[in-house]
Amino acid sequence: MALMQVSSPHAHGPLSTPTVMRTVLLATLPGVIALTYFFGFGTLVNIAWACLVALGCEALALKLRNRPLGFYLNDASALVTATLLGIAMPPYAPWWLILVGVAFAILIAKHLYGGLGYNPFNPAMVGYVVLLISFPIQMTAWAAPVGINANNPPGLLQALQLCFAPGSIDAMTMATPLDLLKQNNGLLLEDLWRQNPQFGRWSGIGWEWANLGFLAGGGYLLYKRIFTWHAPVAMLASLSLMAALFYDGGSSASTGSPLFHLLSGGTMLGAFFIITDPVSSAVSNRGRLIFGAAIGVLIFLIRSYGNYPDAVAFAVLIMNFAAPFIDYYTQPRTYGHGRQHEEQDS
């Protein structure tokens, strides 16, 4: 028998790209469960439909690019993009909305740039932003949480109906806490809280638990060493710091407490599932600290002073632009190369 001739190393670590992707999918579970509990089956339907579309688009792109289908579909990266986009979309979004978003994410944001590993922007966020800009009404119609005004979130069948036959039945939608805060006209924060039933203990009902769910999932991924703590911690720290700096105790012009910001909107989803996307983020740990911190600042600025109530997608895309620049200036000092950073052309 001929002996194999390969370059060292011969041993290999336990991690593989498909494993990483599947672990990420698994880690979304607590957050998805919370979303489903509070807002009904909409998110699950979103995810399922988005995954289906994503696989179709991925297969189409691979076919056009003459790549082996099985090998690349197996890496599950399309499923991660689709799942994240499905979570970020409002529950009970019409089917075509998701189709457009996912197709844009996979075909344009991912494969036109060369496929997995080559895309400069986070595909899920590109898809999300395209939808948000193109279909603002559908994208901001978020379902009302369970128990408010005797709302009973739609069941699975109704959810499917809402998705694939939009308009056939009505679902109750409400402004999200971030919307309310943005549109707050002269009410003290305390009053705003009291007047709107969607506010819960720390932020919005449902939102706080969904965010805690994603925090738990993120903790699991950290434990599994799927990514390092640098970017998420930097982002959450800078967001809290910004919120604390600008928090005035709850006047009518208040921008919300740090805890409110941490547990609102897509904060935790962004911190642990979006900005940790390795392809489009900075590479070194120092770079990730900068990357995450800048995203935290941007999220706060856009939420408080920008046009959109939530800002994770925009902040991430803006910093995706800056990632190569950050990488350039955070190159590690190679062993044996003196203490000062050598400026070398790159």
Partner: protein
Amino acid sequence: MRKIWDFHGGVHPAENKLQSLQCDISSAGIPPQLTFPLSQHIGAPAEPIVEVGEKVRKGQKIAEARGFISVPVHASTSGTISAIEDRLIAHASGLSAPCIVLDSDGQDEWISHQGTEDYSKLEKAELLKIIRDAGIAGMGGAGFPTAVKLAVNPDAHKIQTLIINGTECEPYITADDVLMRERAADIIAGAEILRHILNPDEVLIGVEDNKGAAAAALKGAVRNSGSSVEIVTFPTKYPSGGEKQLIEILTGKQVPSGGLPSELGIVCQNVGSVVAIYRAVVHGEPLISRITTVTGAAVAQAQNFEVLLGSPMSYLLQLAGFQPERCARLVMGGPMMGFTVADHEVPVVKTTNCLLAPTAEELPAPDPAQACIRCGLCAEACPASLLPQQLYWFARSREYEKLAAHNLFDCIECGACSYACPSHIPLVQYYRAGKAEVTQMRHDQAKSEHSRTRFEARQERLERDAAAKEAQRAARKQAAEERARQAASEGQEDADPIQAAIERAQAKKAASQASVDGEAGPKTETSQAADTEQAATTQADTAQPDAAQPDAAQLAIERARAARAESAEQSPLEKANSKLQRLQERQAKSEAKLQQSREDGAAENIIEALESALEKLAPKIAAAEQELKALQEESEG
């Protein structure tokens, strides 16, 4: 407690060391045939000093070191030299290399040898010579000649720390571990010899904390011998056994890029080498055997053997109960940095610390590489703090300048990045290929630069040759004219024959001088090849330079300068006038010469040439007349 530093990166692969630690070191015995590659170390291969058919004894030197960075090779048992030829050797390329083949006679008869019990009486240089003559090269895997490493100049770098490397961070390998357990006293004794040679401030033995028994044995040996060697244990992490990493762990210092540990006052030696030094100095035995771990799931009983160098790997594997059908690849060294060998028959050499015969389930064939997702796990694992994925992109797109700029050459090829990569990209192979390409590129650039200078030197020389030939031709022409003038003036009464003779001689001299200058020119060229061609192309030319002659060419140039200066002082009118006069003189001379030739009955072609020369002069005279006329009119008007 000593302060321990940490180094960046590193990985924790499954250790798999227990398998081969079940029994003590056992002797592998004498195989029927042994093969000794002439190059078992880094540096110039050794040169055979035995002949085919010669009987040799155990420990006899059979190949001598050639050059400074080289070590000799010794027969590891007695027998007959049966061949000196190219054989497959343990090298990743699977290529063959010159080897000495020995058929053992089973007697295992030692050559007479003698150790030095009290080495402290020996000079440093003598000890180094003993170590070099014993053929000792780094036994941790690199195989750098030990004597060269120990020959640091104490004036340039005072050695503060001697580090003995008992780290053995690679999975599976336990050769150093059992050596430390069973021969701790030898290691301490060897360390004392090194202390005598290097005179360091401290001697440290670095051991990973997964080798508790080895560390305990060493500590016991230190106590027994009353030595001041310090045993330092530190957390297990791959690749803490790399020389640079171990230095950082124990001293917190980093070896400068492209530099040597001795620049920091540090020398590092493997425990195996230290034992070999001990045996060479105290027992007078050259390096003819080593401890090799035979392990992997494709052997029935993984264990450590004391094996004679030159034994075929197949022989050693059989002793351990090798099941060839289960073995997909045979690795010399560990699973992280070892390389696959092409054949079971290749011999064990000085650097063979481990033979790993894994099954396909144990170390599966590499998965097809997936796309890099820039996860950065490689950068986190890299003990050299490089950016492996950046290097990967550059290597893939063959951007060699950038590879070098991103410090590719600081990569120690430890394999931690490939191990960590979730996309199973064979990163190390990319770096190896990249390094080779960068080296090749630098070599090519240097060569092309060299070729360019040679080409330009040649062009210059050719031009100079052409110019010299031109000068020679002009000189000849001038001489001919001189002769013609001479002939023309012969009839004139005021002609001075002596003057004419002198002029003729001068013209001749000028001509020969010019030709000599032309030929001698290239001789000043430093290029050896220029001389060569000089010899080739001018061999027939017998012109000899005469140093005593005045430099006629120089004189001619001065004369021409003087004439030019003179003419510069003349007015245009005068110039034109004198020009016309000269031309008319020439015409008259030529006519006279023609007349003369006709009268003498000269050859037809000469007459024709003179006639045509006269014809050519006529329009020139006409032009000069016209010019003169114009100038006259101008000056009048």
